[in-house]
Symmetry: C2
Amino acid sequence: MAATLHDVARVAGVSFKTVSNVINNHPHVRDSTRAKVEEAIAALGYRPNLTARSLRSGHTGAVTLAVPQLRLPYFAELADAVIDAAAKHGLVVLIEQTGGERERELEVMSSPRLKMSDGLIFSPLGMGQEDAELVKADVPVVLLGERIFSSGCDHITMQNVAAARAATEHLLDLGRQRIAVIGAHEGEVIGSAGLRMRGYREALEARNIPYDDAIVGYMWSWHRANGAAAMRELLERGVEFDAVFGLNDTLAQGAMRVLQEAGYRVPDDLAVIGFDDLDETRYSLPTLSTVDPGRDEIAETAIRVLMERIKNPDGGAPREIETAFRVVGRESTLGRNNSGANEPGPSDPNR
Amino acid sequence: MAATLHDVARVAGVSFKTVSNVINNHPHVRDSTRAKVEEAIAALGYRPNLTARSLRSGHTGAVTLAVPQLRLPYFAELADAVIDAAAKHGLVVLIEQTGGERERELEVMSSPRLKMSDGLIFSPLGMGQEDAELVKADVPVVLLGERIFSSGCDHITMQNVAAARAATEHLLDLGRQRIAVIGAHEGEVIGSAGLRMRGYREALEARNIPYDDAIVGYMWSWHRANGAAAMRELLERGVEFDAVFGLNDTLAQGAMRVLQEAGYRVPDDLAVIGFDDLDETRYSLPTLSTVDPGRDEIAETAIRVLMERIKNPDGGAPREIETAFRVVGRESTLGRNNSGANEPGPSDPNR
DNA sequence: GCTCCATTTTACAACGTTGAATGCTTGAAC
DNA sequence: GTTCAAGCATTCAACGTTGTAAAATGGAGC
């Protein structure tokens, strides 16, 4: 059995509370006593029992991260960033996979095991705006993404509209006029797809280019295979376009693959841009231009905001935070008037 | 403040222990009492305090998974599988990233916060065989991978040698004779690289094909960029080869990209195979043949073995378990005498 | 040598739960 | 109407820690 404060105290010849005082760096511990205790701690290999500490102190030093699936690269990279950000503050991360199912998402928030952590970073996919009031848990929640706004808890989101607009403008700047879209969601307004479409349309409007639904590929799911399928459909439709905006990188990769199979050259015949700046976009053939939506910033901000909220649960109104983005030009949009330089986006960290 | 057993008891008009009995499905609780208590539980929205339960019962219902980085797709998919497997048994997963650094790996094992979980699934990268005795923690450990054997704890590994041999044979069966390798580790014998190289050499020997170090690309790190770099080096070297075995999928993808850039057609000019069966291999251009090393089986077995060991820490000698593998033929090795069919590998779950 | 204060240490009571042991009901058997 | 044994419910003591308050120690001042 592991050593306890009492064991250490017995060996050091002091009371167990003194040992506790040493461990917690309390003032008023004589140096000689401290030395004696530390010796005993080392001798016994004592390690504090965090469960007991949690029970007593009321906090656990862990945070929960709930995401759809880690096998989706976006969420794997997000989780990676969250774990690193948490580690910097001495927190561990406990991960729940929801599969993007509304029911599981609700379950995660009401599960008693959420209380094994001090807070929840929650990236819903199945729940939507109509569920805003259901975003309630026994611990502070930081919401990620654009599925739900005004839920009453802190919310961090990327600038979907502005970033998608910038991506579209990046293509327009290459002289492309007929920009196909992959991954739109029929009738959606407020999700990632809807917002990015809005940015796309704004960019077109600003240049008086008519919106054409014929070059928009609707696709509910955003896996690579869906990008491929949507692109095949567009090709079969026989419509013309000179660029493709994948609403995420995975879709863009799938689309790009189909284009190449069909004999098109990227970027010469068709320029392609994605969204997310996944690691893999650096290694595709050609490398994929994309938008970095500020994933690291999202992770770090989420941890920071959550910690503040844990420390002070009633610390002011819920915050809506948008992260800075940046268009990352790579080979898939290389052109005559474009050397692949990065275009910084505006930073608006606390709107 | 959240409701406790005592609050529920007060509302239900019984002693708090009776409430505990109801929650834990103890026998000898009258139906009428049970109903009363359940009503009170619902009315108060009572949720058991898992921290207190852990302290009292000595187990937490969580397991720790320590991996190098989630942004490496292999580990993201492994973590995904582990979380799903754990969820089936009602366990949560707590993830630690070691960055593959030996020091961090040792730290994870000796950290007091490991005790926030009941066991550790540990995938070391920085530690090696010489550290076998250091694999010790306050909780049961299940070791994954091939960096360390005979550590005294349960160990689950893929059949690297046999699987790599099968992958090589898959290429040989296409009539390829000069199979380049990407990602070998100079002088390594026991790690993934060393074992897969052994499988490669065994396959060659069995067919009396001489081993040629000139078509082996050494590369310590296994990211996409490294696969690309190794392949560029091989091409510059001017050596001839008609197939490529990437010691993992990521390397193979990087290598394949460089080959295509250089004007080679895959699989016509060069067949390429990887290792790991990452999701993305299904979507590259061409789709990448690979070896499924049994990742889901690894995850499920790890959870099962760990649970057994948690329940019964002295339950017999440590086990060495190997998972079944299977060669997955895709477009990158499509040939005349090969329709891309899958070739099952032997199952040897309990050697 | 005694008092007094500051410093250091200790005792005690929580935190919310479960297991062991004990006490109280109830209905059936005598 | 007792007695007895289940069946049911309760009391008590942990689990290992930290905060509070009280006690001990020690050195300075008289």
